[in-house]
Symmetry: C2
Subunit: 352 residues, 2 copies
C-alpha cells in the first residue's frame, strides 16, 4: 500500500444522503462534501459516488470536472467502505483490498443497521476502476490504518482489537492479515484513539504519516481533556518505536481543538430511526486536525477552531511543501461523526 | 457518428430486471442477456449496467472480463436509452448525444410509465466514460437511426415522424436535428418499420448498413405476411436513393422469419402492472434477423428460426468478413419487445 503522500491517479468520495446521520435532509453536509470534493478536484481527478435518488442533485451541485457516478451506499465514508488500493513492486498494476465492513462494530456498538450496501462499495469501486480485488477475511475500515509506503503500518489497538470487529482472531492473526494485504513488515500499535470517536478510535483522527519516519500527532495538554492522556501515551509509543526500515520516528505535534459538541438545534435536524444511533444536544464531537487529505497538489484540511486554523495551515504548508493547504469548514462533517480524511479514498498512481 | 462496423472501444448493455417486461422474474432474460454480453465481450470491452438490487446477481452470472457497473434504469434497452456516441473529424475525442427518451411514445402508446430513470441513462453513461454530452432537443431512441459513417442516416417516418415523439416539430426540423447531432448530410426516410414492432417501426429491426453503400434489409415474399408490403416498399426507396457521397445503394436481402407469437404460458409469467403494457398469449413478436450487433471481431446475431439461422450465419460471414458470426438464442429478448441490437450500444474508437 503506497502512502497517501505518494502520487495519486484520483480520489473517490461518497455523497451524503441519509437523514438519520446528516441534519436537515443532508443539505448542509452536501454543501460541505461538495466543498471538499471541489478542493480535491483541483489536485486529484475526483469521482463522487451518489445514489440514484441523489445523482441529479449531486451532478448539479458539483463542478463539471468532478465525475459523478451512481452507486448505492448506506452512508458516505469512502475511507472506511472504499477499497484500500495497493500496487505491485513495479507500480504497473493496482488492485483493491475489499475489507469486510460492519458499520464500525456490527450489532455491538455499530452505528447503523443494515450495512450491506456499504459492504459492496469496495467491490463496485474496483469494478469501476478496472482493478482486481482481494476480499480480505478481516473486518476493517480504511480509517483505522495509515502506512508510510515503506513497510510500516500505524494502527490502534482500541479499534483493530475491539471485540466488535474480529473477536475470533488473535492480535497476531490480525497483524498477519495487515502484513499480507498491505504488504507491510511492521505494525506499530498505538493503544487508544481520540476520545468520543464513534469508530472505536480510528488512527486517522489521532496520527498520520507526513513522510517516512515522520508522524503528525494531535496534541493536548489540557488536564481536563481526556485526549491529554491518549496523546501523551501515543507520543510515548511512537517515540519508542522503530519502523520497518529501522528508523526511529520523529513526531510533529498539532494542537487539538477543544472538544466541540452538537447543539440541541443540530440534533433536532437529524431523523430518529430504529436503524441508526440517536443524536442528542451536547454530544461531544471527535474533532481533530489530523483528519486531512493529502492530494497531489493540495492538502485539504478541516477548519474547526478559529484559534488554531491558521496555525495548522502554516504547519501543513511547512510539513508538506509543494502542496497548497486548503481549509474547508468541517463542522457539518463532524456532526456526522468524522472528518475530511474519513470521506475520501485516494487511488495511488501506477505507471509513473 | 461513426458506423457500427467501424472500430469500437467498447459496448454497453443494461441488465434486465423489471418483471412486467420480462417473464419469470426476468431470470430467462438475464440468461439471454448474459449470453449476448459474453459473446460481445470476446470482441469488444463490455460493460453491463445493473441496478443496486441486481448488481450482485449480474456480477455472479457474468464472466469476470465483463465490467458490471451499478446504474438505475427503467428497463434494459441500451440502444434506445444510452448515448449515441459521436467523434470529431480527427477521431481524437468522443462525445455523447443524449436524446430525450419517452419510453417509445410517452403517454400516447409508450410502453411504460414512468421513464425518468431511463432518460438519465445517457447522461450517466457519459459521466462514466468521461465523455462530454449534448442534450438534444428531440425525442429519439438509438434504434430508430442507422448511419454509414460517411454522412448518411437511415430512419423510418413511422417512428421519427410519429406524433407521440415530436409533434411540434416538422419533418425538416427533425431532419435538421439529425444533421446537426449526427453530423450527416443526407437522411434516407423509409416509410414503415416491421409490423407489430412496439417501437413504432425502429429502423434497426428493418434495415442496417453493412458498409457504406451497402444495406441489409429484412425480406418477406409471403403475401399473407404484412411485412411483405413493408419490405417491398423499403427496397424500392433504398434502390431509388442516393447517399451523402452520391452513391446508389446496394441492397442485400435477409429472409424474415415467420411471425412468432407469445404463448399463453409465457404471457402468464409476466407481471401485470398499471405502469406497463399488458401481455397476452398470441401477441405477435417483431422478430428480425436485422437486429444484430456488429463488434470488432464478432457479429452477434439472433437465433430465431432453425429453418433460417444457418443461412443467416453464412450470409453474415460473407457480408462482414473478418468477423466471427455468433448466434445467440433470442426468444427471451423478443418476448420483451426487441432484439440483440436493441440491447447494445457501441462506443466508437478514438485515437486510432
Amino acid at each position: 500500500m503506497p502512502a497517501e503522500f505518494e502520487p495519486h491517479d484520483g480520489c473517490y468520495l461518497v455523497w451524503p444522503e441519509r437523514t438519520d446521520t446528516w441534519r436537515l435532509g443532508a443539505k448542509p453536509a452536501q454543501e460541505a462534501f461538495a466543498a471538499v470534493a471541489t478542493a480535491i478536484s483541483t489536485s486529484d481527478p475526483t469521482t463522487v459516488l451518489a445514489s440514484s435518488r441523489q445523482w441529479e442533485h449531486a451532478r448539479a451541485l458539483l463542478p463539471p470536472e468532478i465525475r459523478v457516478v451512481e452507486m448505492t451506499s448506506d452512508d458516505a465514508w469512502a475511507r472506511d467502505t472504499g477499497p484500500t488500493f495497493v500496487v505491485d513492486s513495479t507500480r504497473s498494476e493496482r488492485r483493491g483490498v475489499d475489507w469486510v465492513f460492519n458499520a464500525w462494530g456490527g450489532l455491538e456498538g455499530g452505528l447503523f443497521f443494515p450495512w450491506a450496501n456499504d459492504d459492496l462499495v469496495a467491490a463496485k469501486v474496483c469494478e469501476l476502476s478496472g482493478s482486481r480485488r482481494y476480499r480480505a477475511p478481516l473486518v476493517l475500515e480504511g480509517g483505522s490504518i495509515h502506512v508510510d509506503g515503506e513497510g510500516t503500518c500505524l494502527t490502534t489497538a482500541e479499534c483493530l482489537l475491539n471485540r466488535n470487529r474480529n473477536p475470533a482472531q488473535s492480535k497476531d492473526e490480525i497483524e498477519g492479515h495487515l502484513r499480507s494485504y498491505l504488504g507491510v513488515d511492521r505494525v506499530i500499535w498505538l493503544p487508544l484513539g481520540v476520545p468520543f470517536d464513534e469508530t472505536d478510535g480510528h488512527v486517522d483522527n489521532l496520527a498520520c504519516y507526513l513522510a517516512p519516519g515522520r508522524v503528525m500527532l494531535t496534541w493536548c495538554e489540557d488536564p481536563a481533556n481526556p485526549l491529554r492522556e491518549v496523546s501523551y501515551e501515543a507520543r510515548r509509543v511512537l517515540e519508542a518505536s522503530v519502523d520497518a526500515q529501522g528508523r526511529s520516528l520523529e513526531v510533529v505535534l498539532v494542537p487539538a481543538p477543544s472538544i466541540p459538541s452538537m447543539t440541541a438545534e443540530e440534533a433536532a435536524g437529524i431523523d430518529r430511526t430504529l436503524g441508526a444511533k440517536p443524536r442528542t444536544g451536547g454530544d461531544p464531537l471527535a474533532a481533530s486536525y489530523i483528519n486531512f487529505y493529502i492530494g497531489n497538489a493540495a492538502v485539504v484540511f478541516p477548519l474547526i477552531d478559529p484559534r488554531h486554523d491558521d496555525l495548522v495551515q502554516e504547519l501543513l504548508a511547512r510539513e508538506l511543501p509543494g502542496r497548497r493547504p486548503v481549509g474547508v469548514p468541517a463542522r457539518e462533517i463532524l456532526l456526522g461523526g468524522g472528518g475530511i480524511h474519513c470521506i475520501t479514498q485516494q487511488v495511488p498512481a501506477v505507471g509513473v
